[in-house]
Symmetry: D2
Subunit: 221 residues, 4 copies
């Protein structure tokens, strides 16, 4: 089996979850909370590597963004989740702010599609993500970005439930604590995800001729 | 605010996730894997207490069951999740088997509704759960049953994304390891769930006059 | 049974579908195609009357808008529907244009919510409409606006499938031909909708004390 | 462009909607209501021809069935649709009855999949149809069966909204009146469906070398 068969560029999309300055950039509102894990896994470099590899092989790239916060959000809602209550307080990803802009290394190029903003954690819920994946022939998704046990985990769970083949690139995903990382990648994702890979393993699977380069995890069929 | 206002029986439903003998009964295929946690939290007794309290107050009860396994399942599917691969191997919840019957203490009564079977972990995905909740005026759900970090967690995440008020009764939910319990109830659910309660807290909220009996966690508004 | 019981303001929302100048205003791109029906049923006046009645009784109002067209839309999609092909050609509801602004009589007030834009005909598909209805306690929806057999019909079918109580106010809904009106209101909606009312019947049901004022159609329970 | 490119068997599925004896067989409860249209279009013969052509070319076949009626259905529901009220009365497709069995010519073969039963008209709503299509790589669907302006129309509208390429084979679909047929195939489907074909046109597209055999309607790209 060739690597093309495993992650055919025609059928595989890279989903970058919430690549906002507030999450990923020095000076971002949530960067201090994510910095330790980001530096430990080499988050930014690995995100850049995965993005370059995906673009290089012709995979489609989608941005999957959280709702950009405004002061009036949720004021008529019946029941906010704790995460939403926190967003009301800290106004992360504020509409019109630098923190609510894309990190400069993860801005979409022309023909890269920005999905509708999600209100909670799933990039699929209440958005056009499923429609857009279908209209572009995508059957396998790769997830990178922020935050392991919230938006990434929930988007990945939805994807698997909806019928997609789901791969998490674990060192191109960040979070706010190491406990969140191990809960996601060692405990939960191994039960539902079709592959949990490192960036090196992913690049090996994309580039290799024989598809053996990636080591374990990439061949679940 | 009275407890009725918090969990009005007219708007609150108890969802019992996967109450199969294979999960909950001595002799069940997966009981050995869940026994240690079940005994540690008093799972069966707490499930009985919550169910009795919910029925006693007139809350609707729904059974949210996993697909009953048959030998031919998935044979034409493109990509099984690791959990589904395991089900193919162990044939838990087999159609027509004792293990695929309801634990005797959690059989639905007349007018308690059995939702369509789910193929993966979310009780909402590919089933009529959302429709049934709406047709019965339900806006708040309580989750008990198996398994904390898979079907319970994923069903709860979907519920929050779909707009429901979500409560997990943490000692009426089991799992296969203590790590799965803490990942679910200490790390993940506190970010998305509107309440994480013990059975005692829940019963206090349902029975109390002033709604103060339950201690923290029940009043998120 | 009182009229409140039938359309309780707490549980009922008015959904205004696609109230764009291009559909509803003299000079709009699609106004010439809809004018004959609009004048025959008294569309604008009836829409104003229903909106005033709904606001007057304290029903929530939601705008359910079609995607605002841009020149680059769909260019990477695999298969456009005929309606989408036409939108590429005529650029109706163009982003930034007068035609893509709300008709002045149907602009949302503060606390009236604009739902995410839909790509095809269903206001529910790929948007946050279902979430927003749940977060505001809505169980019954009233539909007015454009166009009877496309966005109104499809949104109504989705609503019924998702578990909502669905009412169409037939003389506050327009279309491009009388055949489309009769197909929708005489042939199709009577099979799935819980009520098909005239504006007078609706106002009678909202205002009447005994709920008998509306004549047939309003009492499906 | 070859016919394979248009309806590649690998990506195309035939969906047979509600092929129950009650709809399609002499003696079925609803057969008297559908007989006139069925005979006028040659419904049964065309359904057989399309099914044979689809099987012959290796397209996947799915049965998309309505809920099999039982006396207790809906008794706790808040608001039934008119169609559901009628089903309570006539008990069509009754569980365990001959009328609720597949018409003998449209029974699924081994490896042909029966989708979860739908409660209203959309084969997608509250069922695993979308999941199953994805797990089998399907991007284009062909619809045949009953009833043009209810289950077929609503399933087709959902399919288009969800991102599928949708084809209706108009003389392999029946209904209860000619008005329902023209409303569906001349008024509504031409706005959302990617193709509306006759059986001859469909077979021509499947069999032809050059894909020109089908005449108009099959080439929407």
């Amino acid at each position: 089996m060739t690597s093309e068969a495993r992650y055919s560029p025609r059928e595989t999309a890279l989903l970058i979850v919430d690549p906002y300055n507030d999450f990923l950039s020095e000076g971002g509102k949530l960067w201090p909370r994510g910095r330790e894990v980001a530096e430990r896994v080499g988050l930014l470099d690995h995100m850049r590597t995965v993005l370059a590899a995906a673009r290089g092989r012709g995979c489609r790239v989608f941005i999957v963004p959280h709702h950009r916060t405004t002061p009036g959000d949720y004021r008529t809602w019946d029941h906010l989740s704790p995460s939403q209550q926190r967003l009301v307080a800290n106004q992360a990803f504020a509409e019109g702010s630098w923190g609510g802009e894309w990190h400069p290394d993860f801005r979409p190029r022309e023909d890269e599609i920005v999905i509708g903003q999600h209100w909670a954690s799933s990039g699929f819920a209440n958005t056009d993500l499923d429609l857009m994946l279908k209209q572009h022939g995508i059957r396998k998704i790769l997830l990178i970005g922020m935050r392991a046990n919230t938006c990434v985990d929930t988007t990945a769970r939805f994807a698997q439930e909806l019928g997609y083949h789901v791969t998490l690139v674990r060192d191109a995903i960040g979070s706010f604590s190491w406990e969140e990382m191990t809960a996601t990648f060692d405990l939960n994702a191994p039960l539902y995800a079709h592959a949990v890979l490192t960036t090196d393993e992913f690049v090996g699977l994309m580039d290799g001729e024989d598809g053996e380069g990636g080591g374990g995890g990439g061949d679940f069929r």
